[in-house]
Symmetry: D2
Subunit: 394 residues, 4 copies
Amino acid sequence: MKVWLIGAYGIVSTTAMVGAKALERGIVDKTGLVSELPPFKKISEYVPLKFEFGGHDIRPLPTAYDAIMEHWESNRHFDREILDAVGDELKKIKACKGTALNCGEGIRELGRVETLEDEGLTLREIVDRIEKDIKGFADDETVVINVASTEPLPKFSEKYHTTIEGFEEMLDNDVKEYATASMLYAYVALKLGLPYGNFTPSVGSSLPALKQLAEEKGVPHAGNDGKTGETLVKTTLAPMFAYRNLKILGWMSYNILGDYDGKVLSHRENKESKVISKDKVLEKIMGYSPYTITEIEYFPSLVDNKTAFDFIHFQGFLGTKMKFYFIWDGIDAIVAAPLILDIARFLLFAKKKGISGVVKEMAFFFKSPMETDVINTHEQFVMLKDWFEKLAEV
Amino acid sequence: MKVWLIGAYGIVSTTAMVGAKALERGIVDKTGLVSELPPFKKISEYVPLKFEFGGHDIRPLPTAYDAIMEHWESNRHFDREILDAVGDELKKIKACKGTALNCGEGIRELGRVETLEDEGLTLREIVDRIEKDIKGFADDETVVINVASTEPLPKFSEKYHTTIEGFEEMLDNDVKEYATASMLYAYVALKLGLPYGNFTPSVGSSLPALKQLAEEKGVPHAGNDGKTGETLVKTTLAPMFAYRNLKILGWMSYNILGDYDGKVLSHRENKESKVISKDKVLEKIMGYSPYTITEIEYFPSLVDNKTAFDFIHFQGFLGTKMKFYFIWDGIDAIVAAPLILDIARFLLFAKKKGISGVVKEMAFFFKSPMETDVINTHEQFVMLKDWFEKLAEV
Amino acid sequence: MKVWLIGAYGIVSTTAMVGAKALERGIVDKTGLVSELPPFKKISEYVPLKFEFGGHDIRPLPTAYDAIMEHWESNRHFDREILDAVGDELKKIKACKGTALNCGEGIRELGRVETLEDEGLTLREIVDRIEKDIKGFADDETVVINVASTEPLPKFSEKYHTTIEGFEEMLDNDVKEYATASMLYAYVALKLGLPYGNFTPSVGSSLPALKQLAEEKGVPHAGNDGKTGETLVKTTLAPMFAYRNLKILGWMSYNILGDYDGKVLSHRENKESKVISKDKVLEKIMGYSPYTITEIEYFPSLVDNKTAFDFIHFQGFLGTKMKFYFIWDGIDAIVAAPLILDIARFLLFAKKKGISGVVKEMAFFFKSPMETDVINTHEQFVMLKDWFEKLAEV
Amino acid sequence: MKVWLIGAYGIVSTTAMVGAKALERGIVDKTGLVSELPPFKKISEYVPLKFEFGGHDIRPLPTAYDAIMEHWESNRHFDREILDAVGDELKKIKACKGTALNCGEGIRELGRVETLEDEGLTLREIVDRIEKDIKGFADDETVVINVASTEPLPKFSEKYHTTIEGFEEMLDNDVKEYATASMLYAYVALKLGLPYGNFTPSVGSSLPALKQLAEEKGVPHAGNDGKTGETLVKTTLAPMFAYRNLKILGWMSYNILGDYDGKVLSHRENKESKVISKDKVLEKIMGYSPYTITEIEYFPSLVDNKTAFDFIHFQGFLGTKMKFYFIWDGIDAIVAAPLILDIARFLLFAKKKGISGVVKEMAFFFKSPMETDVINTHEQFVMLKDWFEKLAEV
């Protein structure tokens, strides 16, 4: 299948490319790939584990190889031998110039960037360019995935955001104030009938107007915000307290990371979207709102080695207080990259099975899954498995 | 309902007594009680939250009040006001002299003990005395629960352990070598038609001969080994690694505690049963056997404040190693005590619904549940809920 | 000796009172008291371990007993038996109404407060009242210690803050804008010839004008900001990295606590003084400025159980990165209270030995010691010991 | 200078070789080297930072390059570029066949080994061979350092171990029962007038007979057991509790590591020496013996990434218990390797300054320093600095 990546030169995208190519050559195993677990065995009949990549980015690098070299030099997040083996493949992948419209100040941390809006294009011209780029790559088995940096929360407009007619009007009238990059990409993908996955907390296809478009076009889409580190653990662990009727008095989540991601998130407006996405999960699992702290801070020397410190203060029988601490010491791109491949496969599988609109059964992959309150990782896994088994007639 | 506790003077038993009485008076809330969660609402129609207690013990204390005072002085594990409010109730509870047959050297750590076998009784005389004691207390709504210290693994005998006839022969011929205290108690409970719960890793009703007895008498029973601290977390968290196809390279579990429990477990033969019980769980969840360390050590100043240090080394996409650490800082008796009340209620509920033999759907409460491989805490909770809802016609 | 406490109803002050009285009765041991270590044995010849207490506060409680009961109920930070034994003594201690001038919004978290400025007094009238209150209590063996909540950084005034003449002018002209509570108390103490210790990061006697006053009056004073939890560990541990030539890439310090202290510090302006005080220490020890995060957040259920999470990322031989984590789970008042008694004793000892001005050798007790760069806990201890031994002619 | 390494093919030795050569080429900085700190600046006038290496080993590898390649492949403990740059230098280093006499079962974990005793040599013949090997390499500026695997505690003999005459008699009469490898190497080094450093807890030069030899020959020596990870932190941190008069109720130290070191130490008799070396330190710092747990366990996937979990339970004012946790996540060879170079330099400096016998001022580098009770890391650093400054006339 083919995957078009928004933010193609980021560490998650390029690590996914390296992994996909290394899998094809049989030099790494399938660890980390959910879609390769036994319950999903039949997916390979619909979507073999073989990928071609294209995408947009706003950093003017020659190829994806230049991007991964930069990420690898500062992270050394996998063995150099793997990179050497697949380097030639990445040299063939060149991202088209993208948009970063209303992506906030944080985006400036990426260094030199070149965007379509810098060329003075109108909204309609931007989406036309994006459409042209994607059309030049896509076939019937193509999925678009957003892995770009987190945008600030957009200004909401009843007029332009709730119907596809309003959205088109916004484009035609070039009302840039209410448009953000992630909406524009999602619009093009859905318009072209390409399944769309949103791995970020940016608005993407969750805009009511775009949900309508997906239904009309009969395209499946899923999101938002890949569930990778601390939130994955939180949504796995919090149910334990619920099952045992233990009361959570407070839950502290303190995340530190470096890298572009850490830099962008150190900007308050960009961080806001992320924290909201992370922070709602406890309420949904516990049925009440414990006191919580959810913070993300920049810590340059860690680069992509995202580290999370969690402290759970809880009350048991007879009112007695007890404590639980955990530390997650993970490499964000390593946890995220295989999920890109998984999401792409499950979306294409859904399309082939005639599913359209939000695939809420893919909640397992996201921090803020659309149109479902199933946040418990275990329930999400069971839901994904049941959905797949039913569709695949396992 | 009535609950007969083997090890009635232990910290778990006496804390359960305090809690039950405090609940009756409405001075504490229902935190920690699984049976009071919304899905189990209907249980109160069958088994109201009201308990009378009796039991056996080998420590010659005047009443349960003397026992809890000793535990409370060294632990201060709940507010003194609660104890003062229910003290009179505990003064009315007096344990009968019990047996500690083949309970190992560890038992000597309990201080002065008095046992039935010290009186020179034969096996048959011991079980007769136990039977007489229990009969003097029990009614139709009585459950027996084993909360005594962990026994060493018993010497297995094909002849005496596999059929109830062989077991009776062992009793008649006074073959003490193959009998342990927990078997004798379980035998009497089941013979009297009383549901039996085994909160310890000791053999109890899991002996084939006694499973046969339970079936013949139509009595429900459940066990083994209450899932309280570190294993509860492990069986909640390990599935996350499985769902995400992350490979566990090694899992270290290091537990420290003081108290009688810590002292008894510091004896190698007593500890062995416990470590085996804790150690098998990962294999059942992951489908392979990661390298594991599972240790329990004595740390006197913690008393019952059981602390567990876990380290999980895991491998993700592209072979990259990552790390997860957790610290459980709990009060063992506070986590365990409400489960005693829960187990008693669910067993009596099962009896009323005509269930006999091992209630494997109660796996949720145990580290080594009998006759099931469902170890994943989440699957266990769903199984318990489904079982209950079906029987209670929710 | 006698101790006059600014913030007499706070948890640190009242816990110090309980401890002092319990020590007198011999119902607790000397754990936690630095001045009772063998090298300082001779201090009891100058300052016996016997204390009388008075003080100012802005919360209108009847006596110190009411204050400690409130703190104890929410913290249970020592055995109730101790409180019962000394309760009568605390009922005799009644704080005078104090000032909270320019103490920031945070102070409103304390609940109902009554201050001298609310009576409409001028600066001069406020200091006169404070002077009158202290004079009514103090003798030749009295020390004043500031344990009030942290003030915001004051607005600096060349005119009013650099000389005692300027300071007096500020008082006479009632220039409230440049005065804060801690200055006024320190001014009165020094003017009366009473040694002054500043256990908070508030400005207190560190104002140049007041340092001049201390010299002129021949009074010893010390501060600032009691070194209790995370900073104590940091200044003990950081030297290890320096001695081994290991490079600190980043040091994260994340502190959570509840209580009045946590509430007050959750106000940005009040927190600022504290974070600056904590944050400077690494630079002084390492000789360069590693990347640091130093945060304090409110976590209500912990009350005074201050918990700190530290992460140190460091680089060793061949550029390899390594990690160190620590968690401090302490009770702030329990660590701080004995230091109040220690500081009082050492200050009175200094006075008896004719020392005047800043006693920089008492740096051991403070996060931001005045007039010294000795921040390394070990060097501070050696400095204190050497100073004492020389003066006491050990 | 020249360094002769016992255990030349181990990860510490080969990492030291890589580091020394990389320093010469200027491709790494001096991080990790104590001797390069400002107070020791003058050492380069006596011992420039330039090393040649030789040594003994029992693994029959062609050169040190083969050894480091094996260590590097499983650890990736520094950048591959460094290894590539100095590889040719390591290909020139070939270890002579050594002895593993009475080194315990653990040694068999190293894989194929070849020893002098396997050739059927007598003790005298073994030391002659060792002497011949070292003589062929050494000059006036050569130091011998023991970095071989930990030996079991040797059987003590009054007759053979207390005087050099007895020791020679043991050699002449080939009484192998009382000899261990580390003694034989230390004997040869001291006999040849070469300073000797013992980086392991093996007996080495700490045998009374060999101390006598060192004095007679006028040779400086130092040891035992390099202070690298958890003990370094413990001896830095424990003084804090002492200075503040906080009582340690218990200290748990749980260490896990893989690699040859972990494998060898998983043998009870080899581990014993190590645990004793680690376990004594607290008593010396605190002045009493807190309850301690000190364990080392094998955890294969960590390889040389030694991880230590420490828990300190301590009591403060009013008897209140508090907690401190730390996790050390270090790479053992990276911490140890620069110390090999430091010890070599300081020993050669000592020799040049005419020092003979145990250099107790080098305690800073060791867990069980000979002939001193100075265990506090800070006191050790001050002692080293004072000693150096006096001798170097800084």
